[in-house]
């Protein structure tokens, strides 16, 4: 076993092992835990960087263990895996810093950081899976490891939120299992192959494939929060802010969206999906989700709930881009996986800072808060403008590609959806931006915790500022090598290569 086989395993181990050690450490070993957390996150970044370079040089990383005669556990690193694994490695590093600042003085930290690491290990596993079975293993592991994080506070509301979360995700997992077993019973072990491979499976299965496609999307759609499977997401908001950031930007919803892309591109194939007539319904569901999520977001006064509905809406850009058969829209959808992650994590970091430092949870309490917390709110503003799609920020790039890709594919209605969504984005983000900077404060903040020389704890401040800067940079420098857009183009070129 050489490094090529070892690297995918090491990427997963770099968060799995720290997670297990943290459980063993116990509650009081703060310094050791911090070293493990940041050490694991740094090692992961390094390993991912090595793999990123290798894959760009067409290097192949595969590792495979037989479980039964016909079932393998297999990991591989293709460009699309790397897009996701890089995103999660980078954002995990920042979220770890943030979580240490956020939680180091509250109870059950050992448990929290243990599951936190396991959750990221599961996400890396999802990214690196080479076949559907391996994917399912990590996908379910993600459900199990995020549950303790969602109910972390142990209050009746969080237990309830956790129950709803499980009801959706466990049922979704069951549907997924059925779909995978069904598919495997027809075509044998399902490996992810660029361009898909079902087209060659014979004409008599077409109708069956439609059903399987629907079940697969149903299973992934729960985590990707497609309407009407989105009900768990606003309820899971009871989790602590770093967990929300993780759920929304890196792990859970992204795993669902990632699964949808994998199914469309690497199992069914774009052309075959369109031929079966399943791509357009998916596009419609995604479009409905985009508009519905935005619309609901407008009416939320609770800041985190507003962001949650915004996530429901924004994640469906990925599904929309996937469902439109055309290279440009696909690039838009895939690059949005990264862009949405960067923007959304910034917003959640900022919301967490407001709650933690000033005790602000509602949109109506935000008047004038920009003067008290300028750095946090500057980051929030940049991310919000990015979400709306103001150039030159990240969101603009993805929306532009989605729109022009849809036009290129002759799907004009998508432009209408994008415009409508943009207007709604502006309606629920601009008043916040206006109120924080231009309105006078209503009075003292609910719970103003002074935290040293900065507006809040430094560990809470650095991550959002960093991600906000990156939101601008990935937009401005979208065309340089190794930018998310460049990488998405690489993925799509391989996908559409004749």
């Amino acid at each position: 076993m050489n490094l090529d086989h070892l690297l995918p395993l090491l990427v997963i181990a770099s968060s799995l092992i720290p997670g297990l050690v943290i459980f063993a450490l116990g509650e009081e070993r703060r310094r050791a835990r911090t070293i493990l957390n940041l050490g694991g996150a740094s090692v992961k970044l390094l390993l991912v960087a090595m793999m990123l370079w290798g894959v760009s040089q067409n290097h192949v990383y595969v590792v495979r263990f037989p479980i039964t005669q016909s079932i393998d556990f297999a990991l591989h690193a293709d460009p699309f895996s790397l897009l996701f694994v890089t995103l999660s490695a980078v954002l995990w590093f920042l979220t770890t810093i943030y979580a240490i600042g956020y939680l180091e003085y509250s109870p059950h930290r050992g448990r929290f950081f243990g599951f936190f690491s396991l959750c990221v290990a599961a996400t890396s596993g999802v990214a690196l899976s080479a076949n559907l079975l391996t994917f399912l293993v990590f996908y379910e592991m993600l459900t199990l490891t995020t549950y303790p994080l969602v109910v972390h506070r142990g209050t009746p509301e969080s237990i309830r939120g956790g129950r709803i979360y499980l009801a959706y995700t466990v049922s979704g997992g069951a549907v997924l299992l059925l779909a995978m077993v069904w598919l495997q019973s027809i075509v044998g072990p399902v490996e992810f192959v660029v361009g898909g491979f079902l087209e060659s499976a014979g004409h008599e299965y077409r109708n069956t494939f439609r059903w399987i496609f629907a079940l697969l999307i149903l299973g992934f759609g729960v985590k990707a929060a497609l309407v009407p499977l989105h009900g768990w997401l606003p309820e899971a908001m009871v989790a602590p802010a770093p967990v929300s950031a993780l759920l929304h930007a890196v792990a859970v919803v992204k795993a669902g969206a990632f699964g949808i892309v994998r199914v469309v591109y690497d199992v069914f194939g774009v052309g075959f999906s369109a031929e079966l007539g399943v791509a357009t319904p998916l596009a419609i569901v995604a479009a409905v989700t985009i508009l519905y999520g935005s619309l609901r977001a407008v009416y939320q006064d609770d800041l985190k709930r507003r962001l949650a509905y915004s996530t429901i809406s924004q994640v469906s850009y990925i599904a929309l881009g996937t469902a439109i058969a055309g290279p440009i829209a696909t690039v838009g959808g895939i690059v949005h996986l990264v862009h949405q992650g960067l923007m959304k994590i910034t917003l959640f970091f900022a919301a967490g800072n407001l709650a933690e430092t000033l005790g602000i949870h509602k949109v109506s309490q935000l008047n004038g808060v920009g003067r008290r917390m300028p750095w946090t709110m500057a980051a929030f503003t940049i991310a919000a403008l990015g979400m709306i799609g103001v150039p030159p920020m990240a969101g603009f790039v993805s929306k532009w590609l989605l729109g022009s890709g849809a036009i290129a594919a002759g799907q004009w209605w998508v432009v209408g959806v994008l415009t409508g969504s943009t207007v709604l984005n502006a309606i629920y983000f601009l008043p916040i931006v206006y109120a924080t900077w231009f309105k006078p404060p209503d009075g003292p903040w609910p719970h103003d915790h002074e935290r040293g020389r900065f507006e809040t704890h430094l560990w809470l401040l650095v991550p959002p500022v960093f991600t906000a800067i990156s939101v601008v940079l990935v937009g401005l420098l979208a065309s340089i090598p190794f930018s998310p857009l460049d990488w998405a183009r690489l993925i799509v070129e391989r996908e559409y290569r004749p």
Binding site: I67, T68, E140, L144, I159, G162, V170, A174, L178
Partner: protein, 495 residues
């Protein structure tokens, strides 16, 4: 060491040790743990021999069939031996600490000899090559099981033990009657000879019905499961783990072996479908009952009722040859994984009961803070009970689902999926309760008794082993192929 010696040793060693432990009570604990460790070595040796040399047959005393007693080991028996050894060691280690801490009366000293007799009879049963041996070992097993259930000495326990005794003795009578009928028809009780001679005439049919009913009663398939929940809940935790993990599996093993190796299963299709339907009902009924329980041990016991249902799907799903191997190996693998997971769940609930002095689920609030390892063990065992990856149960569910879907039995597939979701409901009911925060004053550590490290870590070890079965399935499944019916390796089995 020759494999034959190991086969004999697996029976003789615990039997002899049991007699010693009965007399010399002071050394009983050490002796039992020692035997349990040796048992692991012997069972692995036998399994390895089967893996490399194929099925083993040993004629005790050199008499040979039809006169003598034959021991026969194939892949299935090998796995049974391994399962008994692993679960046995876990339970014994746990019990040494459990009985030192709980005051359950003087009768608990009998746990050790009973435990050894149980190992001896389980090992003999897994290796039995003829019907009469199967009967004797099953009977010995039943008697030790009755004693284990009544060990706690409470009124509930004695009532449950008595009820089990009546059920089990009735079942044994049925079984004996079936064996007698077969013997009078064919003049032999050797499984291999019977299989070659078997004809589907009236006396044989009667014997099949008698034997099947007996074994279904002992395995507690719905609707004959009524004796199980009180019995398994009333026994001390280590005994419950043995009963749910091993004893039930042994009667299932006998049925499986007879059905596919001796009986003409192709002619038993409609009976097989009936068993499958009962299994499906058991999955739903047992899970719903488990959800409704207020006491942890009863919840775990009803979960057993549900999980037994999955095993019986095999009798229906093997009716199509293309999927028969997946169904058969899936069911066996399910039994193995469930043994480990259920033993872990019972041991963990025993620890929680010891700590809280009650096993009401409502009183578990805050348990994740006070007994994190035990709750973790229960949750990991729960991953297996739910059939989520990467557990061994997940893999067996995958195999069973595959055969159900491929042969178009959608209702079974749906039942299995719903069963998984219902299992998630009852597992997470417990886990969610334990994660509830309690106010710092009430969380005074003196409110609960501490759990000794052995009682914390053995359930976790068993639960992790159940998880590991899903990841390391290649070799166990390879072992299972040897001498098995429908096996892709041997192309059909002969006992």
């Amino acid at each position: 060491m020759s494999a034959e010696l190991a086969m004999i040793g697996l029976i003789a060693l615990p039997l002899a040790a049991g007699i010693v432990a009965f007399v010399a009570r002071r050394v009983a604990v050490v002796l039992t743990i020692g035997v349990a460790v040796l048992q692991i070595l012997l069972a692995s040796h036998v399994a390895r021999s089967v893996f490399y040399q194929g099925s083993l047959r040993y004629e005790v005393g050199g008499w040979g069939a039809p006169l003598g007693i034959d021991l026969y080991v194939d892949g299935l028996s090998g796995l049974m031996l391994l399962m008994t050894a692993i679960v046995g060691l876990g339970v014994v280690v746990y019990a040494s600490s459990y009985f030192a801490h709980t005051r359950s009366g003087d009768s608990v000293v009998y746990f050790w000899p009973l435990c050894l007799f149980l190992f001896a009879s389980l090992n003999a049963l897994s290796q039995a090559g003829d019907l009469f041996n199967l009967y004797v070992t099953l009977e010995l097993l039943t008697l030790t099981a009755v004693a284990l259930i009544g060990l706690a000495g409470t009124v509930d326990a004695l009532a449950a033990a008595l009820r089990y005794l009546i059920v089990a003795v009735t079942a044994s009578l049925f079984f004996l009657l079936g064996v007698a009928l077969l013997y009078s028809s064919y003049g032999t009780v050797d499984l291999h000879l019977l299989a070659t001679k078997f004809q589907f005439d009236l006396p044989s049919r009667c014997s099949i019905v008698l034997i099947a009913v007996a074994l279904i009663l002992k395995t507690a398939l719905f609707p004959l499961h009524y004796w199980l929940p009180p019995a398994h809940a009333a026994a001390p935790a280590p005994a419950s783990a043995l009963l749910s993990g091993l004893v039930l599996k042994s009667s299932f093993y006998v049925l499986l072996r007879l059905w596919f190796d001796v009986f003409p299963y192709a002619d038993l299709r409609s009976a097989g479908h009936l068993l499958g339907v009962l299994g499906a009902i058991a999955i739903l009924w047992g899970s719903i009952q488990a959800i409704r329980q207020t006491h942890l041990k009863l919840l775990v016991a009803y979960s057993t009722v549900a999980q037994i249902g999955y095993l019986f799907l095999v009798f229906s799903l093997t009716s199509e040859t293309t999927v028969a191997w997946n169904a058969w190996s899936g069911a066996v693998y399910f039994a193995m994984s469930h043994s480990l997971a259920k033993a872990a769940a019972f041991l963990a609930s025993g620890s929680l009961k010891h700590a809280h002095d009650s096993d009401r689920i409502d009183e578990l609030a805050g348990a994740a803070q006070r007994q994190p390892v035990t709750i973790f063990a229960f949750a990991i065992a729960g991953v297996s009970l739910m059939g989520l990856p990467p557990s061994g149960v997940f893999l067996s569910k995958w195999l069973l689902l595959n055969s159900a879907v491929t042969s178009g039995r959608w209702s079974y597939a749906l039942v299995m999926l719903v069963g998984g979701i219902l299992a998630a409901v009852y597992v997470f009911r417990v886990v969610a309760k334990s994660l509830e925060n309690i106010d710092p004053i009430a969380s005074d550590p003196t409110a609960t008794r501490p759990i000794s490290p052995w009682m914390q870590w053995t359930p976790l070890a068993l639960a992790i082993a159940a998880l590991a079965l899903g990841v390391m399935a290649y070799q166990p499944l390879g072992l299972l192929e040897i001498g098995a019916p429908f096996s892709p390796a041997s192309g059909g089995g002969t006992p």
